[in-house]
Symmetry: C2
Subunit: 761 residues, 2 copies
């Protein structure tokens, strides 16, 4: 855990430059706009430790799989988030000395991410070997108003000299992925041009053949006046284009480079029109200018915050933490493009490849439901609908047939990317989360049309998977599901994981409900779906009912426990408090077999099921299981604490709930797991929001009605949150004295606050 | 399955050259002598598909581990059998045309491996593009009499021309491993020299720093007269040294190149003396000459066959098969060097790396016990004794302490090489096989001194491992062993594998016996062992007894079944005959999860236990379990059929026994599993021998006495085998009419034949 960032309600602030923290800061101070993102790398050269990273949404590379031992069924390729062409770079030299913070002495270094406006600023004074000292200020943003525009204001002021400066302002597609399996470069040049003030490179990804055109245009001003040059060197080399200019800097006078970037991908433009479109975007940017672009950008952020802000009074660190999580989630996924999803690192790093995990459905969906217009969450669902055929093919590769679908563990384009058999082939509960997301979306929005339009087809395919995946045990006279990995990935290849069996049966039941819903609302569409899916109504429905009725669940009825899996009670049942702190985190200290046979739990597993299906269990059952499993849980997944906040809150374990909250809220800001340098834990950030809303706020939806059952953590004066709900914006403020519920916009609404019906107007 | 090799009692014969079979033949026709080995590559160039392989026993390379996803505890390096410098090569050109069977037309190609004398011969006529036709004959062997000598007689006879030939005769250390993880070359040059008639390269392995000096010396004769040259070009380049000579070939006259090779490793010579020693060996070889060297070599083979031959009358294919297996085993391991062991591919290929698996103890040991002098088997045991400290370190890396030892799954030097968690960390039954080998050795040889000298220390360390690895289940009131992979590797991470629990308890009991044996025979040594191992007699012994008494075994008592593991009966219990032949072999057709949750068994698991511990179970129990498990067994491991031959024989399932025998006896000759091109299945060859001896022959040792209970497979006229047993050689011949038992040498002996005591004199 680190503590080098200043606490501030709206800003992330780093003061003083410590190269050891640089890669962490590069992740934390990342900016993005849903279409692209950029780590907080320096514009000028930096020869120290850095992970230069720029990402364009949806542009990935299927890197050839690397394994030690091949298992039949592994995907040939692992889809990777692609490090994209560099648009921020400016080489700066003064009297042939490179500006490089690994070599110059720096003073008053300050890096600030203003979350309210999505602006990254940086300032410092650098002293060169010859004693020349220059003050540098940079500001940049990825426009939330125009998804293809990035803009930089980069200024230099000589503090103790007047001399010649050289600026090389460029775009460079000669970038690599740090995690490339075979040290391969993934980009090839298609086209480039460079003229005075402007440069542009179109690069193509190997195999996937995406084109990305990255254009830049710059304007240099000294003391507010545009500088003109007698001579500009146009620079072009492999995958690289730019300009080199020389000018005289005068002591005390500020020179500003405005660099505008247009990043366009063939996902949004015909390949043949990319260059033209790029020039167009650049022209518009230059015409508007940095300040106007920024105003438009800031305006969007202002609006976003109105929808999704959470305030916490009396705890600046907690306030900063929750805003940071909301900020990152909002700039990672805007919901405007149904082809996109939320990568585990968003636009802040490469690690884990792929863009989509079950995190999206299980953790992120409620955040977007609660903080953005309905189509945002809907697009997340449609993303999976569009991958249905691929999911059926994925299942086919594993031996399933008849339209059974297994959604991939990790994916970019619907194909499975991951290659650990115990995860890829066995962590099948993810399929249940895809179904659950349909339920959650309809429950929240009331958009039951979705079932007929898209939902039911997905539910049928997933139900078919469960039907084939379960087998009849003549020994038990029950259906069993063998050889799975549950949400707790510290168990592999177990039989009858309670959570998996539970969500499998729930899926079958929900699919049956779905059929009846569509039968009632839209019988013609039902007929169409049955035809498209070759659904054998009689046989399939009765099989689903049979499985739902005769599923086996491992339980210890005497103790009121649902068992995580068969044989769980054979383990040595220890508590986390029994562990030597030296042994933590166990995933770094213990060999894998030891972890597997221990009772220790990585993240909520039975408890994940109790969270999803809480209405099926009475409070004493939830308490019994929470009290049993929680002490064995090491929370070595960033997705774990939030479920525990929610259940602990429900059980009235307020202090515990608050402690879990602390583990999730500042995970990246404090580099809790010592891995933020690889990128931020974007998907788990949604868990922090869930912790406040469903945990402290006790927010639930039942029968179309909003319920709140809030409490105030001891250390806080108050907290408030806003919620988008069926066309309204509702604000809830919880303080020591009272709970305020305000309808900020939309039609009147009946809600329920601590068992009391309230009419909001 | 292929059928291109001719059936012959003593020879392996390939007629006609089919490039598709070349790599298979390169494996099958491999020669070796326990110190080194050589695939049946061509001496001259071959630009077609080939795996050039030469191997020097004990010289390995720790290649950096490659994984998809790192698991804590994986070894950093994977020890690989190292492809060693080429000593056979002769570049041949006639009028600047290379002799290369991928380019020349070949006629009358014949490759013969004479197993009786260990001689590889090859002959063919080759026609060049210009119509010149030459007859080539080569013979070579790796001397069984002098482990560092290889010799080649390579002759050319121009059939339709007289012209200039160029011979380049060389040694080359610029070789690569086909399975290198990072395409790295593992050898570096240390020294080279080349003079007229002789060349020599000393190469060093990276990291392990072995030196191998490969020297060659050649003599050229035409029509029996030594050819002298006016000019010889000495050739030296990186890692390569040789001579180039030109001479006139005359139509119809045979020119013979005698090439002698001396392959010396720093395992057997001081590094500084290797070159000198190499010259010495070369000098001796040249002085002796090819024919005398061959006579000495053949004499050793003659003697070996006297010890170990099995004859089968009435079935040439079976006769060839069993001799091929015996031949390969004998040339792979001679038992003269306790640092060596038996790699799964011997000297016939690189695959699987490492040299030592549990195959050695479970399958190979009985072969060497039965066919070679006692020290051969003893050296196999001492190999593991010498690795005890490493085995304790291996266990330490997985969290075990107090002198607990886990022998590695795959090793060269005692360190674990393998990196699949489900195997490396969980296939711990291997530890039991190491203990069982001690038992088997003492049972067979009567050398109970071994227990005090070496055995007990190993047993204590393994017992300590089992003690820590089992845990108390308060749920069952029994000890359990969780998270293991049994011999059936088509199950991973199961709980209470019956075989593992059984061999664990057996180890504890045998260690207790061992302590009492040493206490009686050599109390001073016992005290010493207790001191060396810090053995806490009271506490440890009572813990062992407690575990042995209270171990849990999964069973279905009603059906008389030992269950392969917890939950086995929850599977869909199908038979192999239920499978679509299209789905076979399942390990190539099914995804891993499907294999895991199916009931299908790769190789004997419960049955392996019944084989090892048959005296603990009555015949009806063995029958019940055999009848249950055998129909589910796909035998997709080459180690599987032999155990089934033995049990089927015991149960009187004669036809079944014969069918299983066929699966093992000609596995490589007929390329049954389509993978012989990678090398032969050396360790499983011992299973064929076991099948005849313990299966058809019904051979057992009880209380120091030999038992036979033979039957004759229907298709055979007779079979006979020889057995080394406690200083005697016993021959048993089984024919339709009778069973002959003959004491060929050694003191009189009482044996038991079908319940009848016979006194052999």
């Amino acid at each position: 855990m680190k503590n080098y960032l200043k606490h501030h309600e709206w800003q992330i602030i780093e003061e003083g430059f410590d190269p050891h923290y640089n890669k962490i800061s590069e992740s934390v101070f990342s900016i993005g706009n849903g279409r692209m993102g950029q780590r907080a790398n320096f514009e000028e050269d930096y020869s120290g430790d850095t992970l230069r990273g720029s990402y364009v949404a949806g542009v990935y590379y299927p890197d050839k799989t690397r394994v030690g031992w091949w298992k039949n069924g592994y995907p040939e390729y692992f889809a990777k988030v692609l490090n994209a062409p560099n648009w921020i770079g400016i080489h700066v030299s003064i009297d042939s000395q490179k500006l490089d913070l690994a070599k110059c002495k720096s003073e008053n270094f300050k890096r600030v991410l203003d979350m309210r406006t999505g602006l990254l600023s940086r300032s410092f004074a650098a002293t060169f070997a010859d004693g020349k000292k220059v003050r540098v200020e940079s500001r940049r943003f990825c426009s939330m108003a125009h998804g293809e525009i990035g803009a930089i204001r980069y200024s230099l002021t000589p503090l103790n000299f007047s001399s010649k400066a050289t600026f090389s302002i460029y775009t460079d597609a000669d970038v690599v992925n740090e995690d490339a399996n075979y040290d391969e470069k993934f980009w090839e040049e298609v086209y480039k041009e460079a003229s005075e003030g402007r440069a542009l490179v179109t690069a193509q990804t190997k195999k996937t053949l995406y084109h990305v055109t990255t254009g830049i245009h710059y304007v240099i001003e000294t003391e507010g006046r545009k500088v003109t040059f007698d001579r500009i060197n146009v620079e072009k080399r492999e995958k690289y284009a730019g300009n080199v200019v020389q000018m005289d800097l005068e002591e005390g006078k500020e020179t500003v480079i405005y660099k505008y970037a247009a990043i366009l991908s063939s996902e949004n433009h015909p390949k043949g029109k990319l260059v033209e479109a790029c020039h167009h975007v650049l022209n518009e940017s230059v015409t508007a200018g940095f300040d106007k672009l920024f105003q438009e950008h800031a305006r969007v952020w202002h609006h976003k915050w109105e929808e999704c802000d959470i305030t916490i009074e009396g705890d600046v660190a907690a306030q900063q933490g929750i805003r940071f999580n909301i900020f990152q989630l909002t700039q990672t996924y805007t919901g405007e493009d149904e082809r996109l999803n939320i990568g585990p690192k968003g636009f802040t790093g490469e690690k884990y490849g792929g863009s989509t995990y079950w995190d999206t459905e299980a953790y992120c969906l409620p955040f977007y439901l609660g903080t953005a217009e309905q189509k945002v969450a809907r697009n997340l669902l449609i993303y999976r609908y569009k991958h249905l055929q691929k999911a059926i093919e994925n299942a086919g590769k594993l031996g399933f047939s008849n339209g059974a679908a297994l959604y991939p563990m990790v994916t970019m384009n619907g194909e499975e990317s991951h290659n650990e058999w115990e995860i890829t082939f066995e962590e099948i509960h993810r399929n249940g989360a895809i179904a659950y997301a349909i339920f959650e979306y309809i429950r929240y929005t009331g958009d039951s049309q979705y079932m007929a339009e898209y939902g039911l087809e997905v539910l049928i395919a997933i139900s078919r998977f469960w039907t084939q995946r379960a087998n009849w045990s003549s020994h038990r006279n029950k259906y069993v599901i063998l050889g799975v990995t549950g949400p707790n990935e510290y168990e592999n290849n177990v039989n009858n994981n309670w959570y998996t069996n539970t969500i499998a049966v729930w899926t079958l039941e929900y699919a049956l409900e779905g059929i009846e819903l569509v039968r009632k609302d839209n019988p013609a569409r039902l007929k169409e779906i049955f035809q498209t899916t070759s659904f054998e109504e009689g046989a399939e429905i009765s099989k689903w009912k049979d499985i739902a009725e005769k599923m086996y669940y491992p339980e210890d009825k005497a103790r009121g426990l649902f068992l995580q899996q068969d044989g769980f009670l054979d383990k040595e049942l220890l508590k986390v408090t029994d562990l030597d702190p030296e042994d933590r985190p166990i995933n770094q200290k213990w060999s894998w077999d030891r972890i597997l046979r221990s009772c220790f739990i990585k993240q909520a597993d039975v408890l994940q099921g109790l969270y999803f299906f809480e209405d099926k269990f009475d409070l004493s059952m939830i308490r019994e299981n929470f009290d049993f499993y929680e002490p064995m849980t090491v929370h070595e997944s960033s997705l774990s604490p939030c479920v525990h906040v929610i259940l602990a809150s429900k059980l009235g374990y307020k202090q515990k709930a608050y402690e879990f909250y602390l583990q999730t809220a500042r995970l990246d800001l404090d580099d809790y797991n010592n891995d933020t340098e690889d990128g931020c834990h974007i998907t788990s950030m949604a868990g922090t929001w869930l912790s406040v809303l469903k945990g402290f706020g006790g927010m639930r939806i039942k029968d179309g009605k909003l319920y709140f059952n809030p409490f105030l953590p001891e250390h806080w004066k108050s907290y408030s949150f806003r919620l988008e709900f069926r066309g309204r914006v509702i604000k809830v403020k919880v303080s020591k004295e009272r709970v305020e519920t305000i309808l900020e916009s939309g039609a009147p609404l009946e809600i329920c606050l601590r068992d009391e019906i309230i009419n909001l107007k």
